[in-house]
Every structure is written in C-alpha cells, then in structure tokens.
C-alpha cells in the first residue's frame, strides 16, 4: 500500500472520536450534540475501513455501510425530536431536559 500505514489512519480516527466526544459532553445545544455524534460515528467508520484494508477483507466496509445506514436513521429521529421540542416551545437546551432526574 502506498502512503502512510494503517496506524496513521487509526490515530486520525481516534483524534476525531475524541473531538466528537468532547462536543457531546460539552455543548448544550442538541443540534450541536447530534453533529458531534455524527463525528464520532464517522471516526468509527474510518477505523473500520482502515482495518478492512489492512486485513484485506471487505467485512469492515460492509459494517461501515451498515453504520452509515443506522446513522442516517438515528439522525432522522434525532432531528424529529428536536423539531418536536421546538414546536412545543421547549428551549433547545439539553440541561433543561431533566425529566429523568431521579
């Protein structure tokens, strides 16, 4: 294979994953949280595909495709939730959604 070895791709994916995690943990707007979540999913995808290339097996790519499909579904629902929240006048702030407080 030409170019950097698999390890480099994995490190990039790891940094991307960490960034996304920080976004999920630190932002208050649910939209941004969703976007950060997408970032994490993509990082995982990158890892999968990198290892698929390294093993020479297409299973990783299949997995990544399934992940993509699931991510799409999840975004649809998440956005639906956000729209529903907005329509009911709930402020778009994850810290305000405390109904699970036990």
């Amino acid at each position: 294979m030409q170019g950097p070895g698999i390890g480099w791709y994995v490190i990039v994916a790891a940094i991307l994953f960490g960034t996304g995690a920080l976004g999920v943990m630190l932002r208050r707007s649910p939209l941004i949280v969703l976007l950060s979540l997408e970032l994490m999913l993509n990082a995982a995808n990158l890892t999968l595909i990198a290892f698929a290339r390294q093993q020479g097996s297409l299973d990783g790519q299949i997995f990544a495709l399934a992940v993509m499909a699931v991510a799409a579904a999840e975004v649809a629902i998440g956005l639906g939730l956000i729209v529903a929240m907005a329509r009911r006048g709930v402020a778009l702030d994850v810290d305000q959604a405390q109904a699970l407080k036990g």
């Binding site: 991307l16 941004i32 595909i49 993509m68 799409a72 649809a76 956005l79 639906g80 729209v83």
Partner: protein, 178 residues
Amino acid sequence: MGDFLVWVVWFLAAGGCLATGVAVVSLTNPFYSALALIGNLAALAVFYLLLSAEFLAAAQVLVYAGSVMVMFLFVVAYLGGRADAPWAGGPPLLRLAAIVAAAALLVEVVVVLGLAWGDDLRGAAEITDTFGSPGSIGELFLTDHLLAFEITSIVLLVAAVGGVVLGTTPEKKDEEAG
C-alpha cells in the same frame, strides 16, 4: 513520486478532517457547524479512496453529505433563531471531567496502537482490483451478510415511522385529548 503524492494528499485530507472536526464542535452557529461537518465528510471520503473503498466513498458523499446533512440544514433553517447555540457554561467540574475523559480515550488508543504497531499493523494485505468495488460489496451483502442487509432495511423503516410519529402537531393531539 507516487508515494510522495499520496503522502501529501493524505496530510491535506487529515488536516481538513481535523480542522473541520474542531469547527463542528466549537462553532456557535449550527448552520456553520453543519457546513463544517459536510467538509469533514468530504475529507473522510478522500481517506476512503486512499483505502481502496471506492463504493463507500461515493456512498459517503451521496448519502451522508448529500441527504443526511441536507436534512440537518433543513431543520436548522426551520428552527431559525431558536437553534442558536452559544457556549453556555456548565459546572467547571463537568468540563474538567469531560476533557479528562476524552484525553484518556485518546491516550489509550495511542498506547494500544503503540503496543501493537510492531506486529499486527505491519503492512497491509494484498488486494485485487475489485476490492471495494460496488460489485464485491453487493455480492457480500447479498450472500454472507444478508441478515445485516435485511435488518438495516427494517431499521430504516422504523426510523421512517418514528419520524412521522414525531412529526404530529401538538394542536391536533390536544384536540384529540381534550
């Protein structure tokens, strides 16, 4: 020369990827965040091409960037001012914990990689020309991974139904209830 070119492309893509990633997380305007994510997806598509995953690169751009992100942008436009996302505070302890957690994850991955760099990550396997082509992916989906294929379609169906349910207007519901 070819190798050198690959390296250059790789670094450009990596730089774009990481920069847009940081942008997604840190911008206050969700519209710009979404646009940054689209950029991120494009950089990732370049990575996929470098890794001989041509079909996936195309799918990434068409599906992810082309439809999912468009959906996102629609919603951001619909929400308008309500979607503004300033950097509000949280307890300092929370922020510290979050940074520590993310850093720990990163460190762990690097350490694991370091441990394994020598043996398992040496070199890549030999591949044929059809590796990553739509044909081979399709063949796998319909033979070895048929179950995954079918279940994914069900997941999408459920998401569609969920979307419809979530989309019912509050006024109608109140009328039915009262």
